[in-house]
């Protein structure tokens, strides 16, 4: 079935099974491999992408469900919040192995896009579905606070 995708501002038309998870459209068809496969069942957050400004688990999102929407991945997401988060992540070297980090960053951007002064509780709520096996949670929390501070300046 011919489906259309708007990914990172570029239009793609693909002949694909409509039930294919978006993750495999992004990784296998469009070769954007920054978005990771973790669990495949929306339990870890590694596959998170932004769909119309909302963080979404691409591993459980059917290709047919994202017609006519704007998809952003870690490769190209850009906004004041995205730039602040990326700078904060680099400044304190958040990643350890890095596998979960694209999902963590997308969720952090989503949080700051709606709440530029998040409390610890707000951060816990927004990041609850993003698991990090290296347990970089303390640095993730610090980087989100640093990004929030940058956005105030």
């Amino acid at each position: 079935m011919q489906l259309d995708f708007d990914v990172n501002g570029k239009k793609h038309s693909l002949d694909i099974d409509p039930q294919t998870p978006l993750l495999w459209v992004i990784r296998d068809e469009l070769r954007l491999t920054g978005t990771k496969f973790g669990c495949g069942i929306a339990q870890c957050g590694a596959c998170t992408v932004m769909i119309d400004g909302q963080p979404t688990r691409s591993c459980v999102t059917p290709a047919a469900a994202v017609q006519g929407v704007k998809i952003e991945t870690i490769e190209a997401i850009d906004s004041p919040e995205a730039r602040a988060v990326k700078a904060a992540w680099v400044a304190i070297d958040v990643p350890q192995c890095g596998y979960c980090q694209s999902g963590q960053i997308i969720s952090a951007i989503a949080l700051l896009s709606e709440n530029r002064a998040p409390t610890d509780d707000d951060i816990d709520g927004a990041m609850a579905g993003n698991i990090c096996r290296c347990a970089t949670y303390v640095r993730i929390r610090q980087a989100i606070k640093d990004a929030a501070a940058m956005l105030k300046e």
């Binding site: 294919t20 929306a42 979404t56 469900a65 927004a126 609850a128 579905g129």
Partner: protein, 224 residues
């Protein structure tokens, strides 16, 4: 095995290349399986309490006076209302429940002010407009929690009955509107058509609606 949307054969699956090594064994197993299935079906029909069907209004004809009949009808309604498919999204706390054992939801999500999750982690971060069977992920376009004043978790059937009859605690619904919600709301109806592997509530939404209408007709009396 992690899911990929590709055609696969499970390693334990009996396929053309994995036929039984014992001649005739497959037929014997089929015959035994058929006999067991027929016995289970017969047992289910002879034991209504074990059935996944709901009683119909006419089944309550011999239930004493109208008050007693109304209460008996609500006890049958309670088989739906107190089912995990319903209670899991009517939690008393800040987090939904999940599964037939009604354990705390994983990931540890929160209801948020609008009962749709919190910033960065809304219900729709994971839940789709339809069930996603490969991930055992239930879905519906309106997926959300019932407000905390409509919590059913941990309450007796009588408490739930008085709660749903009270416009101050049922979202301001009249009995007619409550009936329409129970009998026609599509998110309520998800309970009868959950994702693969999740037990549906008994009966059908149509049967449930008829039962609920009959409960109202008999005075909408609640168990103690």
């Amino acid at each position: 095995m992690a899911f990929r949307h590709r055609s696969t054969t499970h390693p334990n699956q009996v396929g053309p290349g994995r036929a039984s090594a014992v001649p005739g064994a497959t037929h014997h197993r089929s015959a035994i399986g058929l006999a067991v299935s027929l016995a289970l079906v017969a047992f289910a029909f002879s034991h209504p309490a074990m059935s996944d069907q709901l009683k119909a209004p006419e089944d309550f004809a011999g239930s004493g006076d109208q008050v007693a009949r109304s209460i008996d009808v609500f006890r049958e309604i309670g088989r739906v209302l107190q089912h995990p498919r319903c209670v899991n999204c009517h939690p008393r706390g800040d987090s939904p429940l999940q599964g037939d054992d009604m354990r705390k939801h994983e990931p540890p999500v929160r209801r948020g002010e609008a009962n749709i999750g919190v910033v960065g982690m809304r219900c729709t971060t994971c839940h789709q407009a339809k069930n996603i069977d490969h991930a055992n992920l239930p879905g519906h376009p309106k997926w959300h929690l019932a407000p905390v004043e409509m919590a059913w978790e941990g309450k007796s059937l009588g408490e739930i009955c008085r709660q749903i009859s009270d416009p101050a605690r049922n979202g301001g619904l009249s009995m007619d509107a409550l009936l329409k919600h129970m009998a026609e709301d599509d998110l309520v109806g998800w309970g009868w058509k959950p994702d693969a592997g999740r037990m549906p509530v008994p009966g059908s939404q149509e049967q449930f609606g008829k039962l609920f209408a009959y409960w109202i007709k008999t005075g909408a009396h609640c168990p103690g």
